[in-house]
Point group: C2
Chain length 456, copies 2
């Protein structure tokens, strides 16, 4: 039995991927580019364990076993990495497994993420990147050309290919539509290129989205005339401009394209029939406040982007970090009542929170933001704030971090109990409020702590 545990980052696109060229190959109708986020703040952790004694391939996701025998995507990742496997040799030079033997090994996988699943924070990107990186580590996989592993991760979840690299990463759509071999990720700049770049994430909802990305893309490709135009005519120029901007650390251009492309992606969702909505009124308030902030600044100092969910990611530079967080806390504070009940882990960085709370915001700025219609001091709409930055690709972790038992190869990860308890309590609280005619919070699945959880 051999095993490896890796962590992998999530990534948030600045030029968005929306629409498949080939469903079978999971290739896109346009190229895209994203910032890989720091795994100290958000990550997926995956342990892969392989053994000849495993009768079938198994997966535990956040501690619960899923039936993967039906999952073509999961199986495509296993078979894809197995094809690149090399002979395993001990430090003494002894052959432990000949590469021809790997096909007889069963695969167990346990994966968890430290942030909400399927709520538009690219949990599947981080998850599939960690899966492929973990498999590659166990099998000693060697690429035959740069980016080959990313073509495998792409088959798991499109945007997962970008999470195999740190920094600013492009997914080139490719030209070989028969094999998808050249539809791969390419690092534009590494994670040390722009150390001042920051991302502020406002988790507006941690509930699962009601239209999955795959289903939404398919409907959009079939019904939105605007999406086809975007993919064929708008995106290439944006890719060139934003890669240049990132390379030159030109935040104004980087930020403007990021906002425009987020809005255009959501516009194509709205042009879909029936229309798809991922942003809500809270998301819209974030957008309006960011534009008010930029107008007050006299430049693009903050740039929002929204994936397939209502959560905002706001890119900015370090020099405005305290001011921007202070501003967001004015309009999207933590819920004092719930905070006192469950303990506050509202912001992932307590020092930044303290600095922001002490920050003196300009009166004119507040007046301009107030005019956008969002009331100050109204808590509960934003569930959690992450402050993060760009980070590296997948990292191999120590055996102590393993989520599969080293003796049995069975799952040993249990989802955090504090978070689950909070969800139940909020569910009851939400129902209570319905009696007054207001629904403030969704009842199910709310994870306040986002804690790592423990092991059995």
């Amino acid at each position: 039995m051999f095993s490896a545990t890796v962590s992998a980052p999530t990534n948030i696109a600045c030029v968005k991927y929306w629409g498949k060229k080939s469903v079978a190959l999971n290739t896109p109708i346009n190229s895209s580019v994203s910032v890989t986020l720091d795994q100290n703040d958000l990550k997926a952790v995956t342990t892969v364990c392989v053994s000849k004694s495993f009768k079938k391939d198994r997966l535990w996701l956040n501690g619960t076993e899923e039936d993967v025998t039906k999952s073509k995507r999961f199986m495509a990742c296993i078979s894809g990495v197995k094809r690149l496997a090399t002979t395993k040799v001990s430090t003494e030079g002894e052959v432990l497994v000949d590469k021809s033997e790997w096909k007889h090994f069963g695969v167990h996988v346990s994966s968890m993420n430290t942030f909400p699943t399927a709520a538009g924070l690219a949990s599947s990107a981080a998850g599939y990147a960690a899966l492929v990186a973990g498999l590659a580590e166990v099998f000693g996989a060697k690429e035959t050309y740069p980016g080959e592993l990313s073509t495998i991760a792409r088959q798991g979840s499109g945007s997962a290919c970008r999470s195999l690299y740190g920094g600013f990463v492009a997914w080139r759509m490719g030209k070989d539509h028969d094999t998808g071999e050249d539809s791969l990720a390419q690092q534009v700049c590494d994670e040390n290129h722009w150390p001042e770049l920051r991302a502020l994430i406002l988790v507006v909802s941690d509930e699962k989205k009601d239209t999955s990305s795959t289903e939404g893309m398919s409907t959009s490709v079939n019904t939105s005339k605007l999406l086809g135009y975007r993919a064929s005519t708008v995106v290439d120029e944006r890719m060139r401009s934003i890669e240049k901007a990132y390379t030159e650390r030109d935040f104004e251009t980087f930020g403007k394209i990021t906002m425009q492309d987020s809005n255009q992606f959501h516009a194509t969702c709205l042009d879909t029939y029936p229309p798809i909505f991922y942003m809500n009124d809270v998301s819209k308030s974030v957008i309006k406040i960011v534009h008010a902030y930029n107008r007050w600044k006299g430049k693009v100092a903050a740039a929002y982007t929204f994936d397939a969910g209502p959560n905002a990611v706001i890119y900015h530079l370090e020099d405005v970090a305290d001011e921007l967080l202070a501003l967001m806390l004015q309009y999207f504070p933590d819920d004092k009542f719930l905070g006192s009940l469950f303990g506050s882990s509202f912001v992932n960085n307590p020092q930044a929170w303290d600095r922001a709370k002490a920050f003196g915001l300009d009166d004119e700025l507040l007046r301009m933001c107030d005019a956008k219609g969002r009331a100050r001091g109204m808590g509960g709409d934003v569930k959690k704030i992450y402050i993060t930055k760009s980070g590296p690709g997948p990292i191999v972790l120590s055996k102590e971090e393993a989520l599969l038992d080293p003796e049995t190869g069975l799952n040993c990860y249990v989802k955090g109990v504090a978070g689950d308890g909070g969800g139940v309590a909020l569910g009851l609280f939400g129902l209570g409020l319905i009696g007054f005619g207001f629904v403030v919070l969704g009842g199910a699945g709310l994870v306040l702590g986002g804690g790592r959880g423990g092991k059995k």
Copy 2:
């Protein structure tokens, strides 16, 4: 002194107008088509009074005088209709005013509408159509070609040109970009062509929108790549298909294009930089419930459309009217508390309301709608419901309906007092709720009754 009082209808487009080809001529970047609504339910009323003794042109809007000396649009309508004026002759054949004399006459105008102003219910369309129709009546204007008066109304407010005709009315964008002479309205079918067609209007907000149509269009034309593509490539085919569908009373095609085009218009607003939002979460719930209803019906039985505001107009046929209203009242009921305070005028047709309340909705339908995430029985988000249908163009009213004093030519209309009082009370109520951390209602400008008001 001569005077005339007319009423004019509003219209709600099925293929939307968004974007000006020429700001000076007020011509559009694409053709559009709309249903003219029944003036028994929503209308603008305008009295025009002309006299050589009037020193300057004056306008009272909903009882309050506005300075029109700066308004190019208002002045363009007056000078445009004056150019088509004819000699006024008494019933006895006596010349009262030679047409060459009209240029020495000052114009007084008083105008009111029976529905919220500038909230995306085409109040300016009805208002400018009434102005041009009133001026044409006073001056005995004669068109030199069909639709010429509509080219004048167009200069007041683009969509006003369509309100000069009843039924289903196209605005042809025209080819003469130097004069705009052929950018005019044309009746596709009259108001008796499709007597079963109904419109259910849900007034989600009666506050003034924060981005005016003119300003929004200008930003969209300058920044949205999708808007240019829509105008040049998508709209013409939609115009042909929907005119054919209306002519053949094919609701499925009519309804599908109506929904698609509403969504595409709002998509181009979202693609604008900075983005423009007219729909809110209540609008989105309406959309989701309409699609659930259609899926349950197994056909397009209801078709929403949204102008530049959050209010929904749902076209449907008479045979589903009770069911559709009953369904909407499940998810968007009147606010019981406010209703009891201010008296209920929630639905403009009490008989239809009674029928809908007695209607037994299917359990499976309700289950499908519940799954869309909107809670049942939550009042207050919809302020007022209008049930209406297609109607005729402008109508000349009797002298008893005049809004200008026949002796002095000065305004004698006062805006309804009941509505204003309600607004103040709601303002206080809204502030009270802020103390609990919830803002349910905007404080200002809420008109519950929409009453006609009285005269001084």
